[in-house]
């Protein structure tokens, strides 16, 4: 026994069995009646406010905070679909031997959820209180603001053959789709890429949270090619609030 720990009274086996018997249906029941604002146990912990960094010009991403570190890629200052400024979630910072400040950021593209270091020069820092969690098994999208869940939507997630990749990503850019495009009226293009489809419809197999315009699979099913589909009202509500850099976490 740990010194100082108060001694516990021995529990009776019968009482323990009774508590278990009551707890199982209560947990099952709360799975349906979970009030909005209470994060589920499976949801990963994330900061209520996510620091963001906007790129004012293209940056070289490296494996570490210094010019000696290996160059991973070049991150453009603008996103390819809508030409909005690139905004990345900031995960940390460091100062190298020369006094230059480096920012640890999450990067778009493959491998999904990868990170790198960029120089803090020619960037603009901000933050967001928004966060999106996608629970694949529950086929549910939960929207958090300042750490509180404020909306929860049923969703279509990736089919078993083309699953939605799991991990920590972010919204690269929000796109207003035309009426002729399937999956409209809006799409939140994510930094994640399909692990199965290297190319799709002329794109790099990019994962998005988008609508269901022209798509008929029912909400709550696993039928997409990897994207997360929401009802029209849901994606419209999201698109009016979620900007570039908002973190998105996809869990099982």
């Amino acid at each position: 026994m740990i010194q100082g720990e108060p001694a516990r009274a021995p529990r009776r086996p019968g009482l323990r069995r009774g508590v278990r018997a009551l707890a199982v249906p209560l947990v099952a029941l709360c799975g349906w009646c979970l009030p909005v604002g209470t994060a589920s146990a499976a949801a990963p912990r994330a900061p209520a406010v996510q620091p963001l960094v906007a790129l004012l010009e293209s940056h070289a991403a490296r494996t570490g905070p210094g010019t000696h570190a290996r160059r991973i890629e070049t991150v453009g200052a603008r996103r390819p679909l809508t030409n909005v400024r690139t905004v990345l979630p900031e995960l940390g910072s460091a100062v190298d031997a020369h006094g230059s400040r480096w920012l640890h950021v999450r990067l778009p593209g493959r491998p999904s959820g990868h990170t790198g270091w960029i120089l803090a020069e020619r960037t603009r820092r901000s933050s967001t209180g928004w966060r999106i969690d996608v629970a694949l098994s529950a086929r549910r999208v939960t929207v958090y603001r300042d750490g509180h869940a404020i909306r929860r939507f049923r969703a279509v997630v990736g089919a078993p053959a083309t699953p939605t990749p799991r991990g920590r990503f972010f919204v690269e850019e929000a796109v207003a789709l035309s009426a002729a495009d399937a999956g409209g009226p809006f799409a939140l293009a994510l930094s994640a890429r399909s692990e199965v489809l290297q190319e799709f419809n002329g794109g790099p197999g990019q994962i998005a949270i988008h609508g269901t315009s022209g798509l008929w699979d029912p909400l709550g099913s696993a039928a997409s090619h990897g994207c997360v589909r929401l009802g029209t009202r849901a994606i419209t509500w999201l698109a009016r609030r979620i900007g570039s850099g908002v973190p998105v976490t996809v869990t099982r």
């Binding site: 809508t82 799409a187 997409s224």
Partner: protein
Amino acid sequence: MSNPIRLRRAVCVGIALTAGLAAGALPAAAGAAAVNLGTAGPFVVLGGAAVTNTGPSVLNGALGVSPGSSLSGFELPAVVNGARHASDGVAASAQSDLTTAYDVAAAEPAGDLTGTDLGLAGPLTPGAYSFSTSAQLTGTLVLDALGDPNAQFVFEIGTTLTTASNSAVLLVNGASPCNIFWQVGSSATIGTSTAFTGNVMALTSITMNTGATLQGRALARTGGVTLDTNVIDGSMCGTSTTPPPGTTPPPAASTEPEAGTNPQAPPGSRTTLPTRIGTATLRRTPLSPGAPGQPRRPGQPRERCTDGFTATVRGRQIERVVFRLDGKRIATRAGSPFKVVVRATPGRHTVSARVTFRDATAAKTMKTRYRACSAAALQPPPGPSRFTG
């Protein structure tokens, strides 16, 4: 290509010349005895033979004449905020003390400025300066007290003192008009609309042309004083115990360089009247269409629903602007450009800009209200559908 040694030598010579010129432009004035006007102190205008006025002049102090007895033209619309003494004992005593003060000033050891236009003399520091003949002021003369409110300036002028129209004497760093003495060997003529400062002690006469102002005193020993629509204020030196109604005599510290340069100052105003030419307007300009997440919906009227804007304050004499959004301070700008980017958040909001000015213009607060619906707060731009679906 220039020789570096020669260049360095030239620079050294230039520095030496500059220092020499600076020292030469301001002749060293020896320590001076204090000039005391005695019983002439309460007089803002004192003549020997006569004092004549034309137009709505304002005198903040006593008016007197001795040994003459003529005080003419001081009925309305002229205003004399002080006692009048015509050939009485008070005026005679004042003349006697004026003579003493005149002689003390004339005896001050002084640096020679003969032939130098006072407007080109540069900022003068406390001391005595002499002109063997006449003295001329064209433009602006700056008197720098170096932070000493008791600093004394004495100008010993052999013959005449003349100022060009629209000239000015500006006091900085605590200089007081009460401690400036112009000892004029014959007559002084203050040009039209000149803003003059100090105690003019003329042996013969003093003439103030139309619209000239004097912060100090005009004291003539033997001749007359002639006024024409002037403001002569010696209240800061104790010439008047009853300040003129509706006016506030400015303190000596208010004699900053901006005073007297007020282009909107009415004729007859004093040199040190604080200027109030500050202006400010608040304008909104929409954010650039390329701003992330902030493009305005095509065809959407800006008045109905804004997606953010730049609030800009423009104007004159602006010292500082404090921007507030719904009462909460969001930015303070102490230099141009005075602007702030306001990101629209859904709902109705008020942006205010509190502007303070460098001059005496009263601070003002301007407000602009806007409404940003949630649709306008974020409106994704159109793009292709290239997702996995």
